[in-house]
Symmetry: C2
Subunit: 402 residues, 2 copies
């Protein structure tokens, strides 16, 4: 393992990675995992990867696991990077790609954070954790927790997608619903972790989830033949994925694998767009968004603890932040399924909506390589699809009009 320490990106304080850590004890910022990049530069070779398993653990130089025995795996795969030929040519893109995180165990990108976060928690001796969630993250930590034998206490909004409740329950997690938003769930968890002295697995309150999400960036770069695409669009709630992808890009640049960085785009919903608002006013941090609500439930985060890291990634890569309307999200979700056969989640559809908007505005050039992050499968959001099937009796007939 090449981890050297944990570092506060706000005040620069340094912490020991061999001890369980939460936020910076000096300024309450999330901590980042730092590696000996010089050593990685010496040891890492693209060729060596050919002999490794075809999943996120192949990037072991960039991961914070000391002993491979502690790896908790549910069968992660390198998720496909699909070229959207038909939709792309309809919309005017020459090179539009979708990275389909719906093929992760549990059907969402949250598995990456949980795989690495739980593995490291196991390595550090954690027995129990609590976390607030909009659904998918809690489900992912619950299933990986079950495999690791670590107790999971999950608090989610009552309005979170129903299926994620089932995942928590079936895997034996303790599940609580709250009449409120993820921010209310967060307060409940904060009280519990203090009272019971268990691990706080809230977004960015432990440093290892980012390392798991980082692997999306590593995979994208490898899938493009170790080159950067031009633009990556990411549906942004807590923003950990975007922070992770940016961290991957910086680490790969530091060891000389890539030169240029793609422009990173944070996509939010019009009725919950604190990052977009902050970006438009050139702020370094966001302001709590009142009455947040969107069909893209996973990105209903009124104020992200890592907002300053998200905004930094956008500014430093000459990216942008875009808000899209719920009705457009549903429209593009169905357009994609009809043209490409991909049933993606509304958060993923938000990136498609935003990409088309940016293309029409000229911010994206038709010739650029553009990557959409679909963070999960549409299967977990059956309510986003309206259906009116015809019901027949056993002796009935179907009528086909050509």
């Amino acid at each position: 393992m090449y981890v050297t320490h944990l570092e506060c990106p706000k005040c620069g304080a340094v912490f020991d990675h061999r001890k369980l850590a939460g936020l910076c004890t000096k300024c309450s910022s999330p901590l980042l995992v730092r590696y000996d990049l010089k050593k990685i530069k010496e040891k890492f070779s693209k060729k060596r990867l050919k002999h490794r398993s075809y999943n996120l653990w192949r990037y072991k130089e960039f991961l914070p696991i000391e002993n491979e025995k502690n790896i908790i795996s549910l069968g992660e795969v390198i998720t496909p990077l699909l070229k959207l030929e038909k939709f792309g040519s309809l919309a005017g893109f020459k090179h539009l790609y979708l990275k389909d995180e719906g093929l992760n165990p549990g059907g969402s990108f949250k598995s990456r954070g949980a795989a690495v976060g739980i593995s490291r928690a196991k390595e550090l001796g954690v027995k129990s954790f609590a976390m607030p969630t909009n659904g998918n993250a809690g489900a992912a930590w619950a299933i990986y927790g079950a495999k690791a034998g670590i107790e999971a206490n999950i608090v989610m909004p009552k309005s979170a997608p129903l299926i994620t409740r089932n995942e928590c329950a079936v895997s034996g997690a303790k599940l609580y619903l709250v009449n409120g938003l993820i921010s209310d769930a967060g307060k409940i968890v904060a009280k519990a972790v203090q009272k019971y002295a268990i691990m706080d697995a809230s977004t960015l309150k432990e440093p290892y989830r980012i390392e798991g999400k980082k692997t999306m960036g590593l995979e994208i770069i490898e899938q493009f033949g170790w080159k950067s695409p031009d633009v990556i669009l990411y549906p942004t709630g807590g923003g950990v994925g975007l922070i992770g992808i940016y961290k991957a890009l910086l680490e790969l640049r530091a060891i000389g694998i890539i030169e240029n960085l793609p422009r990173l785009v944070a996509v939010q919903a019009q009725n919950c767009a604190p990052i977009v608002k902050a970006y438009e006013s050139k702020s370094k941090e966001s302001i709590f968004w009142e009455n947040a609500h969107t069909i893209a439930f996973g990105i209903t985060v009124p104020k992200a603890i890592g907002d300053f890291l998200v905004l930094d990634a956008i500014y430093k890569t000459n990216g942008t932040a875009v808000a899209v309307a719920d009705e457009d999200i549903l429209h593009y979700q169905s357009l994609l399924a009809q043209n490409e056969g991909l049933f993606i989640c509304p958060e993923g559809a938000a990136t498609l909506t935003a990409a088309h908007k940016l293309l029409k505005q000229g911010w994206i050039n038709p010739k650029e390589k553009v990557v959409l992050l679909n963070t999960g499968t549409g299967l977990k959001y059956p309510d986003t699809v309206q259906i009116n099937p015809i019901t027949l009796e056993p002796n009935g007939e179907i009528e086909i009009k050509f």
Copy 2:
């Protein structure tokens, strides 16, 4: 492509694979795709696979696609073969594995049949098809059909899992529900394909779906280092997966890759067990099962058109057929999730139930390598999980008992 012809496994009649074919025109049996195995033996090498994409298309010598341009892909992956260490040691298995087909596009093994079936249909110029389904197959053919630009007409029982309706609808398929079983849906489709002269994509009424399912067998053998495990358990409704796996094994044996075949086990539900009944009476075919019903909806097939092929595979490999109770299926589904973090579908859980039963009966030896086929993700079956979460107000607290 190494396909030489289509062959009737019942009467031996031979058909031209370059023409769209249904059942044997002489005896109404399903047809099998035959290859020039001598040529494949000359050309196929395990080493060459190392340079190929990590998905089912890597086995191109064994697939019926002439021009790679016709391949319709939604990002298939080599699905993980997971060793169930914790559950295995609790139950007394030394080497218990689960092949997790839930990581396919659309969340089920049906993608394999649809990927190859739709690709070949496109190659043969098909514009429209109709099919009866218990849900997952229709959903898979709908999404692959959408990508291929082939019109899908799907007829499914009203009681089929709700989420599969959404997949059909969102991808633009024409969806019909029937007040009855898949056999009733089959009759409606039979009338439609005759009336409108469109392709009949019913189970085994077109020969290419088996070729897609076959890739499960190819992957399992490659994942065991090109060796056979001892036992493979498969949840059996139409039985195409089992027929496909058996076909893969025979083809690999014919070209000298493996010597021994694993014993194949068909797993059914107690209230829909026509194959088990036939096996117990040493019959070559099954009898229509009246009042079929089980929570493992995908295997509610009262009489499979390929029953004789399933039974043949069982007899020839010294396999067996086992029926399990719905309440046991739910119990094992939850046991697996709690121990291994895997939320599998009830059909997959049926194989776990059956494996444990066969171990206790001594039919499986604790030291044998046993593979369970989990045909899909539990996410598509939220109703199989009972949950009673505690609801809190925003100022609430959680109570943890150690």
